[in-house]
């Protein structure tokens, strides 16, 4: 079992002296992202309400920030950064592929059902 840790994040931009320091650094980063999310969620800036690819820009920002958080939890807290490439890919690629596939199918279908209601084939407002 490997005990060595890779002690840098952001592709080497931020280097740490020990594993413990890295943990606190990642915590600071995750808290910072959560704070951004909460502030955006409370104030909802007008400029970010524009639609982009069928969803509000603000929602895209939330989703991207979530994935960033998930990356650092998995890579640094769960030590995926220190595992072999094989194990990392077996876990991450499988999950990412299946989840994207499922989400695409279900959201596509949900949008279709919405249009069926919306175009008046089924009355819902009574």
């Amino acid at each position: 079992m490997a005990h060595e840790h890779k002690l840098e994040i952001f592709r080497g931009l931020w280097k740490f002296k020990s594993n413990k320091q890295k943990i606190w650094g990642v915590l600071a980063f995750l808290s910072f992202i959560t704070a951004i999310e909460v502030v955006l969620g409370i104030y909802k800036p007008e400029g970010l309400m524009a639609k982009f690819l069928g969803m509000k820009l603000l929602n895209w920002i939330f989703i991207i920030l979530t994935i960033v958080k998930a990356y650092y939890i998995a890579w640094d807290f769960m030590h995926l950064r220190d595992e072999t490439k094989g194990l990392r890919r077996a876990v991450v690629w499988t999950g990412v592929f299946l989840i994207l596939y499922l989400v695409f199918i279900l959201l596509q279908e949900g949008g279709y059902v919405f249009r069926v209601y919306d175009e008046g084939f089924i009355k819902r407002d009574f």
């Binding site: 998930a70 194990l87 279900l106 919405f114």
Partner: protein, 322 residues
Amino acid sequence: MSTAVAEGKTWIGGNEPLKASYGKMMMWFFILSDALTFSGFLAAYGFSRFKFIDAWPIADEVFTHVPFLHGQELPMIYVAFMTFILIMSSVTMVLAVDAGHHLNKAKVTIYMFLTIIGGLIFVGSQAWEWATFIKGDFGAVQTKGGNILQFVDTEGHRVALSDFVVAGHRDRTEHERKNGLWFVNEGTLPTYTVEEVIHGLESHDNILVRTQLLTEEGEKTVLSRAESLEVLKANGKAVVEGANLHVNEYGSPLFADFFFFITGFHGFHVFSGVVINIIIFFNVVIGTYERRKSYEMVEKVGLYWHFVDLVWVFVFTFFYLV
């Protein structure tokens, strides 16, 4: 000769191409399958939301409460606090794993203990959040089509049913097990009837009905005074206070169903995580891993604990933010 030796090494085991122990690898594959279960739930939530994209409840209006601060509208604050608690307990968990690598029993004990405390605070907060959600705050009327009509004043602020409806006197015999069907209990009845709500609306000129349909700006549609009375009289079917699996005063019943199901399933994971953490904690205390000269069990339960945190990050986004 040499190939035979190589073959023996390759095929009779002892080869670790992924450089991870069996237990750790299986924990990873369990986490992968569990992640697929959760994404199934969240994708189903997305499906229902896209299906009712023009009428979905606004999370900011639903989760506005913070314990001990009654009557204040503080959207997001409490969930943000819960998120922080969970991330914090993840950090103490990594610190426990790190101390385990240095075979430092005292530190592993302390950090495991802190992790358990964090988990308990989180589960407790979630229970409080559920209680608040089930109790509801303003009350609403459900229409025959299953839609929700809420009440606002002329400035658009929400008005609770109790502020303008007067409950009439009603004499009725309660169903009891001893004088009716012995296997059925009578459920709780709403405080008001639809007639009383109609009467209350008629006698208060400053109250309007708000439907669950969203406008272009993403706000709920407020009807005019005449429309309000007309819609309530024609379509009002039942008074709804709070939320359960059948009705939901905040909007579509599906919202409550998914809220209970997804946060419930996640809360169950946190709870079982706490139980497993406690077991490992006592193993640390009695020195099982000290004798084994390896704290890998702490690392494995740590993986599970971080996974719970990972899932919460997504639940937080899709339930409270997006």
